[in-house]
């Protein structure tokens, strides 16, 4: 089985936000929630870079660790998913996540956040693959259809890579070797406790 990861090549990202839009459309994500977002660092200064970021599907994920009802699980492809049936909307995963991935449909008072929502790596949830219940709660399950996450698949500059960690790391390494520079595999050190030497 593959160890699925995301890798954003910030030297290619043009901050078009198409990944954000495609994700929202594909999964019909609730209002106010962006499972993926593009953050621009050093905005307007020389050397500005943009990074597309979502749930990184961490190794030994902090969200799963702190969840008081243990609603998270890791698939055979190392994708971190959760059950919205078990989630109580306490907010702990949001406190623990290094990437700000968990979000809640409501910002109501008295802690009524609703069920947590986050990037599923286009892999749905615990329901049957591609069932209506899965679609309603988590969005499309492209992985079950043999497809990779849509954000990476439709990235116009191929900045955002998704797939087996070793394969996307070798693609990135090849790029860095060829062009002679690379700003790093954003988030890898924190998510996977390893990074790509460049």
């Amino acid at each position: 089985m593959a160890r699925m990861k995301f890798l954003c090549d910030a030297d290619r990202c043009i901050e078009c936000n198409a990944c954000v839009t495609a994700c929202k459309n594909e999964h019909e994500v609730p209002w106010g929630i962006n499972r993926r977002r593009v953050v621009t660092l050093n905005d307007g200064k020389p050397g500005e870079r943009s990074v597309s970021m979502a749930c990184m599907h961490c190794t030994d994920a902090p969200c799963a660790s702190v969840c008081p009802v243990s609603c998270f699980y890791t698939t055979a492809d190392a994708v971190v998913l959760h059950s919205k049936d078990l989630c109580i909307g306490c907010g702990y995963c949001f406190y623990a996540c290094p990437f700000g991935a968990p979000q809640y449909p409501k910002t109501g008072n008295f802690g009524s956040r609703g069920k947590m929502d986050k990037c599923t790596y286009c892999a749905g949830g615990p329901e049957d693959d591609n069932s209506q219940a899965e679609l309603d709660k988590y969005g499309r399950n492209r992985l079950a259809e043999g497809k990779l996450p849509l954000c990476a698949e439709m990235c116009s500059t191929k900045a955002l890579l998704a797939g087996d960690g070793d394969i996307i790391a070798s693609i990135y390494k090849e790029r860095v070797a060829k062009r002679g520079y690379g700003s790093g595999a954003w988030g890898w050190k924190v998510a996977y406790k390893e990074t790509i030497a460049i």
Binding site: T40, C71, L86, C97, F110, G184, V190
Partner: protein
């Protein structure tokens, strides 16, 4: 004529532009052959190294949710605290105080009224006092149980109940916790208002604490006013601990007003203070019920046995006797001695 003129001008401009281009050619050829476009670019490794603990790597986003501008928040301290330190604090605090109480009960037994029940009763707490006490007490117990569920539930209850039932209970517990919190806040505020005047620490309390309140040996009863040293410790712990719990809880309740680092800090404070308070309150419940004869009456009917009052609150009884009109002593007409 005009078309001729424009043609001439156009040709002239074109040749000028072309000429400039030709002139510029050698200039660009003199520039360094390979320009490194990332010479000044931000690099993840450098940015992460520059972060101080608790800081996050942030930029700009074009979506309305400005919290999303935090790209990476590397700190995993809160996770370690929440999963290891806090359960340890909770276990030590709760099991520790229970062990101490069992030991105390085995050594000292139930603390009796040394002079025996007097058949005479003195009003200790009126209805307002008791209402405030039980408002705070019941809400605290509900909050302690539903709060401890967050820390210990998944390791203790979930294996017994199964994930679905445990999730349903935890969802309910969260709602109870979030709403009953307001009753507790009101209780703490009222506790402070109605009892602060009798809880100013003084020399009497120091003496009381130095002899352990007389709890350790039979027949020792250091003088005390309306509240003795031990009760004043409970009072100030409830007021200060309650204030910390209320403030941190308030921040956790209203998600729009919180960033992640702030929320982590409030959750840390909330959990730690809560377990320390729970341990203290278990001790308070013990000594107010099974641990001491006659103590529970104070918060049940509000009327306590006169001999109990003389032993535990001698100075208060004297004060009450002096302004007898304000205090009702009921029961058989015996001289109070």
């Amino acid at each position: 004529m005009t078309s001729m003129l424009s043609k001439v001008i156009r040709t002239g401009l074109l040749s000028l532009v072309f000429g400039l281009f030709v002139v510029a050619m050698p200039a660009s050829a003199q520039q360094p052959s390979s320009v490194n476009p990332t010479a000044q670019s931000v690099k993840e490794a450098q940015l992460l190294d520059a972060l101080k603990p608790g800081q996050s790597l942030a930029g700009r986003v074009s979506i309305p949710n400005k919290d999303a501008a935090n790209l990476i928040q590397p700190g995993r301290d809160w996770r370690a605290f929440n999963q290891e330190t806090l359960p340890r604090i909770g276990t030590i605090a709760i099991l520790g105080v229970l062990a101490l109480l069992v030991l105390f009960y085995l050594v000292r037994g139930k603390i009796r009224i040394d002079a025996g029940p007097s058949q005479m009763r003195i009003t200790r707490f009126g209805s307002v006092d008791r209402f405030v006490h039980w408002l705070t007490a019941t809400s605290f117990i509900a909050l302690a149980i539903t709060g401890a569920n967050v820390t210990f539930g998944k390791s203790v209850l979930m294996p017994m109940m199964g994930p679905e039932a445990f999730s349903a209970w935890s969802g309910m517990a969260k709602l109870i916790h979030n709403y009953v919190g307001f009753a507790f806040m009101a209780g703490v505020a009222l506790t402070f208002l109605i009892w602060v005047k009798d809880n100013i620490p003084g020399a009497t309390d120091l003496k009381w604490i130095l002899v352990g309140g007389g709890l350790l040996s039979k027949g020792t009863h250091p003088p005390a006013k309306r509240f003795n040293g031990g009760q004043k410790i409970v009072f100030w712990s409830v007021v200060l601990g309650g204030a910390f719990l209320s403030l941190s809880g308030w921040h956790l309740l209203f998600p729009t007003a919180e960033g992640m680092a702030e929320a982590q800090w409030h959750a840390t404070l909330h959990g730690t203070v809560a377990f320390v308070m729970t341990a203290l309150i278990i001790g308070h419940i013990y000594i107010g019920s099974v641990g001491m004869e006659g103590a529970f009456d104070a918060m049940a009917s509000g009327e306590v046995d006169l001999n109990w009052a003389k032993e535990h609150h001698s100075l208060w009884v004297k004060e009450e006797m002096e302004r007898k009109s304000g205090s009702r002593i009921s029961g058989a007409a015996q001289p109070a001695e």
